[in-house]
Amino acid sequence: MKNIILYIFLGLIFTSCKKIIDVDTNNAAPQIVIEGNISNRLIAQQIRISKTVGYDDLSNYPAVRGAKVTVNDSRGNTYNFTESLPGLYVFAMRGIPGITYTLQVDVDGKSYSAISKMPAVVPLDSIGVVKNTFFGNENINVAAYVSDPVNVENFYRFNLYVNDNLSDRIYVNNDRLTNGNKLRLQLFYDGPNDEDLKKGDKVAVDMECIDSNIFDYWYALNQQTGRGPNQGTTPANPTSNLSNGALGYFSAHTYQRLAITVP
């Protein structure tokens, strides 16, 4: 909201200017990063383990090999994940809404664990396009239509694919102010070269019902992206549900996908 006002004001009166600068920062020692997902699809569920690299380094993230990865569920099942590719641990199974999953990772003499409960499925009713006009510029955005249940707190996350490419924006919602309503959640898109959606683009939307810790994780990450230091919140590592200082998250979530072609 505030940014919109700022942009109008600046756009009208001033010319803001961007340039690349050098900043003085130290490269931190590598940290472990765990990204684990259990969904309600029968697929090879994936737990990815990697390490951080220094700020100055190339974005090649080293895989962490040889970890012991297990997931237990609240019904007493144990799933032993195996490394299929370097740093990628898989197990073919189907997660069940309402069940709590516990991840256990042992690697290099350290243990990391996390708990996540898969929420009930809230149906993704449909997806469509919405035309937005802003200062005479019309652009098209995808919207997800969801009927939010009234009796529970819900948290949603979306992945947006445009012509099979994953949008780099974070789409995450809760129903704190919109509980029990028919929701139209717009997934604003900004292409790699600032391009808008256009007629004929193939669009796919993945919807996940996530638990509250995972919502906080993505929400915190989203608060920091695109604002940078000196604006908005002071950046910090999002609070993870993983123990022992690991970065990343472990999420048990539902999965639905709908696709359309932009008319």
Binding site: Y55, L58, S59, A220
Partner: protein, 775 residues
Amino acid sequence: MRIKLYLLFSLFIFVNQFAFAQRKFNISGTIRDAATGETLIGATVKLSGKTTAGTLTNNYGYFALTQPEGEYEVIISYAGYQSILKTISLTKDTKLNEELKSANDLAEVTVSAANRKNENVKSAQMGLERIDMKSLNSIPVLLGEKDVLKTIQLLPGVKSGGEGNTGFYVRGGAADQNLIILDEAVVYNSSHLLGFFSTFNADAIKDVSLYKGGMPAQYGGRLSSVLDVKMDDGNNKEFKFQGGIGLIASRLKAEGPIVKDKGSFMVSFRRTYIDLFLRASPDSAINGSTLNFYDINAKANYKIDDKNTIYLSGYFGKDNIGVKDLFENNWGNVTTTLRLNHIFSDRLFSNTSLIYNNYNYTVRLLNDVTNFKATSLVRDFNFKQDFQYFSNKHLLRFGLNATHHRISPIDIESTAAQSQVNSLKQEKRYGLETALYVSDEWAVSEKLNFLYGLRLAAFSLLGPGNFSNYDTKGNILNTENIASGKFYKNYLNLEPRFSLSYLFNDENSVKASYNRNTQNIHILTNATSSSPTDQYVLSSNNIKPEIADQFSMGYFKNFEENNYEFSGEIYYKWMQNQIDYKNAAQLLANSNIESELLYGTGRAYGLELFFKKKFGKLNGWVGYTLSRTERKFAELNNGNYFPARQDRTHDVSLVGIYNMNKRWTFSSSFIYSTGNAVTFPAGKYTVNGQTVYYYTERNAGRMPYNMRLDVSATLEGKKTGRFQSSWNFGIYNVLARKNPYSIEFINDPNNPGRTVAEQTSLFGLIPSVTWNFKF
């Protein structure tokens, strides 16, 4: 209660002590400007004869002195005015109401040595900066809109909230720790257009005082500073008009007598007209947009008789921003102050104030499914009773203050059937702040002055309301339902205030001060600059009153017949119960907002050097601040101290004003400051196929430094009859330096896989022109 009685008792002893003094008479009166009848605040009245004594006029131009019977020479002086010299024989209580002529009426601007006061050296008061409204008018500013809040940022110890921003930080305090009062009424949001302009229209302002430390006991309620802004009373001799046309806004002010020499009024209006340009656009989306703000200042006073004067003043301001069919946002302050000055006796001056002020905002979203109206309000009723008792060597101030707060955090009203946002009324909060204070300004000897006092500040959180306690994860432990009018939570704080000055001679002194301040109303925001939707919260079962203790010491020197002024002050400030936020805190429309907060401590220390040339063709000042500002929270930065965002090690400002001749005045200001303390990534990793940054130490990085040179020139037109006009030409950022506004980390477009820092700057070189007139 016991403490209150004790205070009253000690007051009684003081008064008695004075009553036993030898046979003496009072000399008292009001000092005014001869041309306008405006009372002069802080004019010097000096008596010399058998004994010597001196005092300053108070906020209403009133003074009183008590001296033994005898012949005296009286000198009344005020900077920029011709002094009055009189001989009186004090054989009975004497009234001395005098009017001083402005020095500008002289053919040559010469200021006699008698006019040059050394009050800055002599007074026990420390950390006080007074803005001279005349130099304010010639200091260059963004788009030529002269601005009180931007001018105070050029003083040592005061840091800007950001480029072109009116937000400010004083001695390591946060932006919400400044008490900003306009004719005693609190102005909660002192900024227009996201802080690029302040709510204070310089046309309507008579006096601005900023206390950075050594806060006198009559002020309280905020930790780090007091900015006391007083409006013009209005000319009580003749009708006058003045105004101006600038790039951003136009101004018009009218003033005149209600009854000549007895009462006057002043009305001042300012409005921007950016949206008139918008309306000229052929594009319907643009010409349906709004973007404006306005300010109205109004004041009237009437002198009922020699003992009673009544004042009524008000401020109304509003910002309106909107895009057709998309959103509307407006916000503004209202203040109203009704005051009665009563002179009980020559020695006992009283002021009674009834004050109403509010700050409110409205946001409307007009999208077909996101369609709602959100409103918020902070409202105060304030009663103040202040007494000043003038005695031979003492100036006693005492009084009480009671403020009732009502905060309506947010009311969301769904405004369309298919709107997906639910209506929501967040519970209102009520609080009562009461304070009793007493202070004494005591001239112990020619060399030693004390200013000491005590403020007893009480805060009560009132019902009705549901008040929750939370565990460390933010889950509700229990909720108490409190009935209307019940006192739910009470805090009592005793705030000692103490300053002293020791004069080596007329031109050299050292001073020291200690003061404690507390604060019970807090702004919650995780943005850098002030936002119209900032949240206000009261101290509660979860939020404890913020407390600051400040020690400062300084050396003060005047030389070359008080033409030059130098001061060096050091300070150390310790702050308790400071507020920060948890990760992923959702501050807006959150009934459990207090579960999102973290509590910690802070410390700030620094050195401030100030050198000023006060008179002559070339005048101006140089200020330098070396400082450190840190915060400590158990949950942040591994519990270690980290620099606050506004921690800037070096801060330099230079202001020069050159009066070339009667027609041309040139001025310039230069600033340099270390960049803000910010958090830079120390590493990166991948999540969901995207690059995410890894952070280690909080605020361990630095933005690039800020540097800017602004210049302006004023051309006074020839006076034709009553009419006089002037042109002001200005250039903001002459060096066109790209000062950092924000930094974003992005993938290097030329070298994929590498990360680079991209800096955004707001303002390049910006010229401005303003035409001012008066008649």
